[in-house]
Symmetry: C2
Subunit: 395 residues, 2 copies
Amino acid sequence: MKYTFSDKIAELKPSAIREIFKSLTDPSVISFAAGNPAPESFPVRELSQLSAELFQTNANQALQYGITEGYTPLREAIEERQKEKFGTVREGDNTLIVSGGQQGIELTCKVLCNEGDVVVCEDPSFIGALNSFRSNGAKTVGVPVEEDGISVEALEETLRTTKNVKLLYLIPTFQNPSGITMSLAKRKAVLALAKQYGVIILEDNPYGELRFAGEDLSTIKSLDTDGIVVYCSSFSKILSAGMRVGFVIAPQELAKKLVVAKQGEDVHTNLFFQMLCHAYVTRYDLDTHIRSINELYRRKCNLMLSCIDESIPADRVTFTRPEGGLFIWGTIKDFSDSSALVKKALEKKVAVVPGSAFLCDLSATSPSFRLNYSTPSDEQIVEGIGRLGEVIRSL
Amino acid sequence: MKYTFSDKIAELKPSAIREIFKSLTDPSVISFAAGNPAPESFPVRELSQLSAELFQTNANQALQYGITEGYTPLREAIEERQKEKFGTVREGDNTLIVSGGQQGIELTCKVLCNEGDVVVCEDPSFIGALNSFRSNGAKTVGVPVEEDGISVEALEETLRTTKNVKLLYLIPTFQNPSGITMSLAKRKAVLALAKQYGVIILEDNPYGELRFAGEDLSTIKSLDTDGIVVYCSSFSKILSAGMRVGFVIAPQELAKKLVVAKQGEDVHTNLFFQMLCHAYVTRYDLDTHIRSINELYRRKCNLMLSCIDESIPADRVTFTRPEGGLFIWGTIKDFSDSSALVKKALEKKVAVVPGSAFLCDLSATSPSFRLNYSTPSDEQIVEGIGRLGEVIRSL
């Protein structure tokens, strides 16, 4: 049988990250390639206890079909916390539970974009989002990211000159892959531009709570007075990634369409874990738990940065120094394509992700690469950055 | 803000079932409208024990990101069981875990259909699938269902005269909503037609194991020698619906595309419950468990049918007499639109689903309605069918 696939899927390639992941089955490879939270960040004891209770008290509900919008008490708990801490809930907004932030991203694109419509993205950006847009037949158009976030001038030029832009996808805080946080001034400028050009902003904030230095900045959603921002986040980085529980906060009219689209995708998100999340956030202090995660990540990030300072010549590679999140972004000076580095590093059994994987233009090259510090052990960080230094000095 | 939605989503209406479900918040309403498995069918004690063990022995894996294809030991266990019992695995096929059968249906459409392409469906068919196709911008074209399954003549005519048919969606066993099972002769004829016209068949088989009378028929997938059938099923009706764990078995080339599309939707299915499913199927006897479910459903179905025989004049309404599954399908004689019945029944606090909800043509009417017997209690079945009889006699 000769298969003919839809145009959007036929053109989609397995991501470069997946190819690197294959090499990680070799246990001697030190991986800085993942985007996984540290396993120590899962509150296993608490979840285990709450799970036992849930099986005892409410199993028939937890194992049965639920409503597409999500478990109402969890939606209410999220709204309350988001309103108080981040101001991300406007009057008339709805909160939906989704199967990880990834689904929130995908549904927003599906609801807004016809095939051929454009999603403007930071360049580089989260590869999972880029592929999700592509798999819906949307085109991704990139706008460069500067030290304080997306280039506002380039964004304006793109919005002015590009037809059928339906969505502006942004990760303003501890951006994946760059670790960069967008300044408040730029958040305001970006919001004003989106309003001017009638483009919905999808603010993806999976890492926003993972701040271990500096001060919180207002989310773009909290600055929005016109209902043009859809806000997406998840419990993946603060409770468990494997459970796939995320949420979207959106103006009601838009949220209703997200629900219809989600119903066609998976009916609803795993109800047992929605109820478990709800039990956790009401019975335990999530903020205290997140502080302990951030202590861990501060230490790991600082360890990686000090190893970098020791082993990697500062005149060859510059690195971002994030105040939170999971990633450090290295850029090789006077170099066009980091893939040679990535390949040589893999030969030395260190895995990093080439910057090109995160670009909107799949044929472009990048002098940058991404390092993750949340997953490797301290020993792996020391050893792996040492090896990376050797590779870089040999380039 | 004035929102502009994608064409495919803008045209999609919340399903009639959802509207009926809203009335079910009234606890005095007896509902035959659901498609839920009986809560007694969840093996709560076993899942609870296995869950406690999983938290103790392997929590860090179960709560962490997993691979998109699904938990390998579960995939292997499914393949082994499917191969032995149903012959649904060909050489070169891949098995993927999806977030409920619903996701398997949606991904197959996404991978094969451009916007405007056609999915040919049984008419009536599963509303969740129809909306899933629509939410991908595909058109649904219906072919009538007869007592022994889809009309082969009408199917041939449709395939011959319709452009851009990319997918033929079928629920051959205990069809939702009709409860009808397609004969073996028709399964073979349908497969031959699909081959002749180069159309992929999506065989959806969520109810296939729920047989309480008669003999199993070969799945269409087991008859396929050309790799033109994608097979989709789930644990929703035999272990738990709320956990959202289903699977797709497809030729490798197609399966790879499904994986790429799934990655963009939810990265992977809840890993904890994938591991729990695996523990269940390896530690307990799933067949014995399914037999106990079928005993329950046989009793409930027979009870509903005997109440129907008692309370509803046979010259006014004909009913299907299913050998398994969850549904009975009633058709009012010399009547064009069952919605008057549905409305009057709701006034008498009995909820049934009008046949029109399951049609490809959203503006069409139907003299039929769907009854579910798995969810209501015995008392509710007796009382509810009694009330329905009154309503029908008053029509």
